[in-house]
Amino acid sequence: MDTMPRWADIALIPLINLTLALLVSALVIALIGENPAQAMGVMIRGAVGSAYGWGYTLYYATNFIFTGLAVAVAFHARLFNIGGEGQAALGGLGVAIVCLSVPWPHWTLALPAAVLGGALFGAAWAAIPAWLQATRGSHIVITTIMFNFIASALLVYLLVNVLKVPGSMAPETARFPEGARLPSAYDWGAWMGFGRSAPLNVAFFVALACCVAVWVLIWKTRLGYEIRAFGQSEAAAKYAGIRPVRTIMITMLISGGLAGLMAVNAVQGEAERLVIDSVQGAGFVGIAVALMGRSHPLGVLLAALLFGALYQGGAELEFEMPAISREMIVVIQALVILFTGALDNMVRGPVEGLFRRRRKGAT
């Protein structure tokens, strides 16, 4: 029984949720004694008002597309992969190893290799929690949380003791060779006004390609059908001959691989070396992005753009209104997760009731 038209489910409810989250955020800003309307203006102008802003907004969005798709793919199999943070960190390790071990002659060769390295390492980090969930029934949420912490400790150890440049104090790898440098927005988009400082790079197009690939995978392939069927009902999927262990493993490997790809953007594209905490919470933003985007690649893309703008706008906000610290972004992010994820039924109930009454009135 459909109580609501489709457009209400995929557009109206997320919009109401988002509006509520923004309203509460405005309230928070008002409570700390600042003007919410002015803050909003600063954020919008800072994020999308100039080519400079776009250079950062799209860079952040690229990270969030990868981590958002990672969470979204797992959601389709009703698996909550909260380990994007650790998987992306390991992806960084993979990308760094690939970039540093070969004197790359040109980025067109280095990019596919780094994509492979990042995805492989990210997938490997998701493999153990996935295997434990599939064969031992260990709750994947808990194991992936634990693996985030283990990944962070592992990377600190490797950077301090193994990968650090001898003689240097900073716990980071050497700079990647020039041949592994991805063309930045300045190289291919200077005519659009991007400056030298823009961190946006060709990894953005890899992210867009991943959106298309995930859409094809989930809705146009047999594997995608199996993943969705498994997510809808494990019992029915089993009865239809879908193997649960295989489905869980493949889904989580794809999910971890997507999270690992984030490193192509952040590590190879921007930092050009592996530093401590290269992920900076993007793995968790992926949860918000997947929730807002209803686990659909197009939704994830839009939500990632929104969060990219939020991150860049938040940085400008701290600059122009020092009374509002950068943590305001974290608060907005929390409220978006709260309203679109946890309190979804609070909005859904009344809206469904409204449509039901209208339909009754019509017949």
């Binding site: 949420v141 912490f149 301090v160 972004i329 929390a334």
Partner: protein, 321 residues
């Protein structure tokens, strides 16, 4: 390692285990009632901030404790609203609460004190003072037991003892009272509890609020007992270690004490030694930091005793219509 070092290590073990223990027991109440709570971290952080902030403003640590607990309870109520009333996803609600606390504490801290998210450092009556247990001085010369009593058990702040006493109290409430029986039942089979005419919603809300209270104590201890003031992200993953300890203890109070002491010892060892030599192998500090999480994964994998969570955990209860 001489005796003095061991005594010091055990002393800091107890100190560091206390916030874990309080948070772990908090999670125990919630999860035994069928409400997953990965927001322990956020509740602790919020309590740490508000206890330190109010203690700094009033100069009274008890008012600070009250404020910290109130903040933690407010977040617990939000978790209850989302996961019990609106039957939302408990894990997502927990994630949101962690972010909310992490952002709001720094934002409000900056507005109130302009110290980059820190609170002013606390001194005198704005902090919990160390308590010397009776007879500590008299017993000290007694070999082995004396130093253990006088230097390990004695000389902590009141919340350490509250944490230790909370273990038998939790055991008693859960396993020897009618409320505890119902609370455990609601985590295993809420339908049966509902059939018996007991309110599932009421029981789960009380469990979530007890969880908020204990997280409040844990957070207040962090900022006003263990340290002297709040710093950004000071809970530093302790909420998740407490969660790990809870699984490690298989949701049982006395085992929770043991697990928290073990994880506290690991932290104490990590703080004291840069690396540790065990059987000829050098273990780096990072390994010790990761050890609680590794142990938890091993336990979860079920190779060394299987950890089975309460059966109805994570699922919202929908009454039959």
């Amino acid at each position: 390692m001489d005796l003095a070092t061991v005594i010091q290590l055990l002393d800091s073990t107890l100190r560091l285990a206390t916030p874990l223990l309080l948070a772990c027991l908090a999670g125990l109440f919630s999860e035994r009632a069928g409400i997953f709570d990965i927001g322990l971290e956020g509740k602790m952080l919020a309590a740490a901030f508000f206890s330190a902030a109010v203690a700094a403003m009033t100069g009274n640590v008890w008012i600070g404790l009250l404020a910290g607990t109130a903040a933690s309870l407010a977040l617990a109520a939000l978790h209850g609203l989302a996961s019990i009333t609106f039957r939302g996803n408990q894990l997502i609600s927990g994630v949101a609460i962690n972010f909310l606390a992490s952002g709001l504490t720094v934002l409000i801290g900056q507005t109130w004190f302009q110290l980059g998210g820190r609170t002013p450092s606390l001194e005198g009556a704005a902090r919990f003072q160390e308590i010397t247990l009776p007879l500590a001085g008299v017993l000290e010369p007694v070999p082995v037991i004396g130093p253990l009593y006088a230097n390990v058990l004695s000389g902590h702040t009141i919340l350490v003892y509250v944490g230790l006493l909370a273990v038998p109290a939790t055991w008693y409430v859960l396993f020897r009272t009618r409320f505890g029986l119902r609370l455990r039942a609601v985590g295993e089979n809420p339908g049966a509890v509902d059939t018996a005419g007991v309110s599932v919603v009421g029981l789960r809300f009380s469990a979530v609020l007890i969880c908020g209270l204990l997280c409040g104590l844990a957070g207040a201890y962090l900022a006003t007992g263990l340290s002297a003031g709040f710093v950004k992200e000071m809970s530093a993953g302790r909420g998740f270690i407490a969660l790990a300890a809870l699984i490690f203890a298989k949701w049982r109070p006395w085992y929770a004490l043991a697990a928290c002491l073990l994880f506290g010892l690991l932290e104490a060892l990590g703080n004291r030694f840069q690396s540790l030599e065990v059987l000829g192998v050098t273990l780096p500090t990072q390994f010790m930091q990761a050890l609680p999480y590794i142990l938890t994964v091993v336990i979860l994998a079920g190779f060394v005793g299987k950890a089975i969570p309460p059966r109805a955990g994570g699922a919202a209860y929908v009454k039959e219509r």
